[in-house]
Symmetry: D2
């Protein structure tokens, strides 16, 4: 099956391949009357854009978004918003080897097994270029939830984690790693460069915090806020794990330690901790919504790996194209976008049922 | 919002509260002609049933399932299968305190904030009793995927993990912990009993492996097999984290280490490792589908915790009802059921598009 | 495929066969805090109940509804509302002939062709008994739209139409035909009785008017209010046509005649006519929503008809069970229920997007 | 709400306004491996294209479709197919009057009431230009159901019907009316021209027949084949009524007359009539699927009509833009496209459940 629509009442449908003429997203269900122009979307795409440092792929894509429908005189009309990003820097010649054999760890083999046909150029539909559509759609979703502030950053690369004591949100935009710890960012320069030069790649952990989410968003039992977030994050290219709040750590706490005790506060309850990551019973509690997302290392690496050809013969492959040595880095704006999309959808869903 | 339907073409809708007359699930989209009677469902419910050892809640529920529709002469007809389980051992008197104040870590406050009304008896709809409906529905889903074998077990309780060297699938049914390591099971007896007697509770990690899944199931981009699994697992009561394959560990591997190299095999490719957990690009690869799920410790504990009343006053609460000292244990059959439901749905979805 | 859920945010899932132990509906997404008890539902079921006159089937079903979940202390909690109606008067012996051969015009053959298995007792899932679940769910939907008044009535039986000049809403409940014209009701007594005694059956046209619907409900382009109504009505057993407003008549009007001219009114615009039936562009205009629905004559008739057996042999069949001589009559409360379900869903959908 | 996606497993999402830069559709869930190029789609768009005779709007739109994604080397890959049609001949100056007042019978007022903002240029999203996206998507759907032949034609304009005795499918393409009766086509020339010159407009009835549909497609109870068709057709701009098979006529038949008797045939049963229009119990019977659709006269007419301004003041309006004197004519390829989309979706749905 193919299922390229995300969301329940605020929905978006993405399309496009790495080496086709363009990619895009259609955002449907957006409230009317919101001010929206390309300028509201472009900064988020710019943050995700490749080729901005030696630590990301050297493919040069301006990723200029065009709004093709859904606005009138600078405002959303409530009709579907079609966003398009043209592909500019495709180089199909790089991919001849991928046409013949499957990259281990990549989606090549699975797509072939499923569909019996595969656009191998740049990974086709399985390329992380698709996440540009998510980021564009996420920028629209942000307009739906002005009360929410979303912060995403890389917390760990190749096992080297930031020091929470050094956390400084202002640092996130100051380095090519979305790193909130200036010292870690310094270390990562060497770490990522080393992997890049070695023809290897690194994994990463991205954290995302949404503050300002009021208590009450979420749709139990089967569209819980955390369940929808888990799907949203796990569906990002290269993601292999998702935690909410204390996550796996919660499995090692006692009931007393894990309880987020409450005291009366100025505006509703005050919580003494946030092990729950802002979600209980699938519903937001009013605390910040916190999730952690694990990205595997890029599958496309220069180091040769054993594999098979599409005819089933043994061979070796080394991927020579332009690739991110650590996909988790550019995954950061994508994580933030998915957070925005899930929250905006749940805001509208909550309003539907509870007014 | 309230969203009590799960799945895309094989869908089920669950209903019921902890202390209502009954709970149930309506399974829709099931292929016709499958042999189905209560006897196909009951063993799975029995595995999840409370009151079977001192390590689980002492609530006595026979959890007898009745099939109210969807079969004829012992076979599914393709019409919706209504499954009902009557509640027998509700004791509403136990819950007077919960009516007045919110249990920290529990869904009490979030439900109240969302709906402005809350069935506090036994947690109402947020009770883990709802998972009986999942297990019943999962038993039907298993009939749809006879080619798949699903094994779920507890891998860790309160930070004490099984030793992979001791893994013995035959042990899982031999102890009250679904533990595949006889030595760990022995240790857990003391561990869980201690927590129980101390009025505390423990978290757990559950692992689930589905073998026999052919390559090609999954629906990219927004209903990827791993994304749907993540939602399915994260939506289970008390779950806070989900990993596929190497999960967070993948974020610490190099690209070479993480690549699941392939060799030609008897029936399609042979993989030299399974870091991917059987899923690449959201599509099954033919390897076992592997996931790990973290359960937080039970929120309802005897140890008093600070909280607020529904009027917003400061108070303390200790939950005196009958509760599982470790919800992860009985969560194990639920994890297996959700795995079955996701896989069965994707088998049918794949068939829809690819024949 | 089997698809037993209706609606988008206010959704209900129905289940059950004519001769199973029970049938029911699970209503999901209902706003919390609405007063709801069986007494709010039963009158609508009573209106649809069989065996109340000689003009409907003689099957005796009390159709007592039970609420199994979703309410607490007499109010909806926002969780799924499970409604169950037990079948009491099944007589399977009546159906032996139907087991062997297909009733012309009935769903027998189509179900067999689709599923390869068929619960032939009373038509199984294709029985109009399923509409009891719709009526029960519709009663819940009405609570969501207290601003709306829904009136449904039979406008025509066997080609004999009411005279609009005689229309009296108060008459609808005074005769066994939901007929708003006392004179027509008198004529229909003879007409329907004649058909019944002749072992024949008659078709009918039902009209339904919903007043009080504010302007703005509807979800263009593919969930327009009229498109959803058309699906809702066409999906009722035996329905073969649906009109909104002037319907087929609009195809014979000039643009000038069809234009519903507007004048300024006390509360928004005043329309000089309602050819549109209260819907333009898929969105309600504030005028009454009007639809007309055609029911074919009951397929189960005593008069022998040529058919084939399930082995494909030629035979004749005459259906001896207890059947409505005119299914359109008892279809009237069903039409009203579907109107309520569509409008309630769209009220919530509108609130989701537009606040 | 806004809901611009149609279908269940074969889904498409349309976007675009009359006077925006482009419009389009994203077709998702299409089986892989089907030969597809622009040449497969263009002929259907050409049939719907405006400006080809004096009997349709004089807007000149080449309606050239571009495939932006979802194919590789001329074949579908199973990923979303993005189709785009650029708008060429917008003349916004024509619409100044519509900006200020609502056209009676048009969606102007309803959109304003719903969204509080309205792209009045050419009707914005409510323009029949949106149906180009349906036609393009429908062309893809046809590739999914090569076993089916779809024929659509105008059966009646302004109350003047074709004579079934003159029916000649070969005539449909020979006149500007999609008329299968050469004599009627002749009469309609005068009829439509007269309406056009008078600044008026006419309604029409379109019939559509799909032959080759095997028995078994359809998804009871709430996604019946006829229910989905009814929604598909009623959702087309200007449609006010839908009939399946005998439709309203069935309400005037006796049970004997309405029964489609069966005899054993070469390949399955042979039906002696097709009052059911090829659908029973929401499932196809193997007979041709037949529906009739009523189009109201175009709302945009030159003759002045009473209306109100957006400030609520009384005024008169006459619409001077370029409009179809009879929208039903160009609605014919749209009806055929919606038939294809519904059938293709149900073919895949059926395969999902029943293999």
């Amino acid at each position: 099956m193919s299922w390229n629509t995300f969301g329940r009442v605020l929905r978006y449908t993405s399309w496009g391949e790495s080496h086709g003429p363009a990619l895009g997203a259609v955002v449907d269900g957006c409230p009317p009357g919101l001010a929206l122009s390309e300028a509201d979307i472009q900064p988020f795409l710019d943050a995700r854009r490749p080729g901005q440092s030696k630590f990301t792929t050297q493919r040069r894509e301006p990723d200029q978004v065009k709004i093709l429908s859904g606005t009138f005189e600078g405002k959303t009309t409530g009709t579907p918003i079609s966003l398009m990003i043209e592909n500019v820097d495709q180089r199909s010649k790089d991919y001849s080897e991928v046409a013949k054999a499957y990259r281990p760890g990549h989606a090549d083999y699975a797509y072939e097994a499923k569909y019996g046909i595969r656009d191998y150029r740049g990974g086709g539909r399985s390329s992380a270029r698709e996440t540009a559509a998510r980021v564009a759609a996420g920028a629209v979703a942000r307009l739906v939830i002005p009360e929410v502030t979303i912060t995403a950053y890389v917390a760990e690369i190749g096992g080297d984690a930031v020091d929470p004591a050094n956390f400084d949100a202002a640092e996130i935009g100051n380095n090519p790693f979305f790193c909130p710890d200036a010292k870690a960012a310094k270390r990562w320069e060497a770490l990522v460069d080393e992997a890049r030069l070695a023809g290897s790649s690194l994994g990463a952990v991205v954290e995302c915090v949404a503050s300002g989410v009021p208590a009450g968003w979420g749709a139990p039992i089967y569209a819980k806020l955390d369940a929808d977030l888990a799907a949203a994050m796990m569906g990002i290219n290269a993601v292999k794990a998702v935690e909410i709040g204390a996550g796996f750590g919660a499995a090692r706490l006692s009931g007393e330690e894990n309880a987020d005790e409450m005291r009366p506060g100025e505006d509703g309850p005050e919580f003494l901790s946030n092990k729950a990551g802002g979600i209980a019973g699938g519903i937001s509690t009013g605390q910040p919504v916190v999730c952690r997302v694990a990205f595997k290392p890029t599958s496309s690496i220069l180091t040769p790996r054993e594999t098979i050809t599409s005819e089933g013969e043994a061979t070796e492959i080394s991927t020579k194209g332009r690739h991110d040595p650590c996909v988790g880095i550019r995954g950061t704006p994508v994580v933030a976008a998915m957070m925005a999309l899930v929250l905006a959808d749940h805001k509208l869903l909550h309003r539907a049922q509870c007014g």
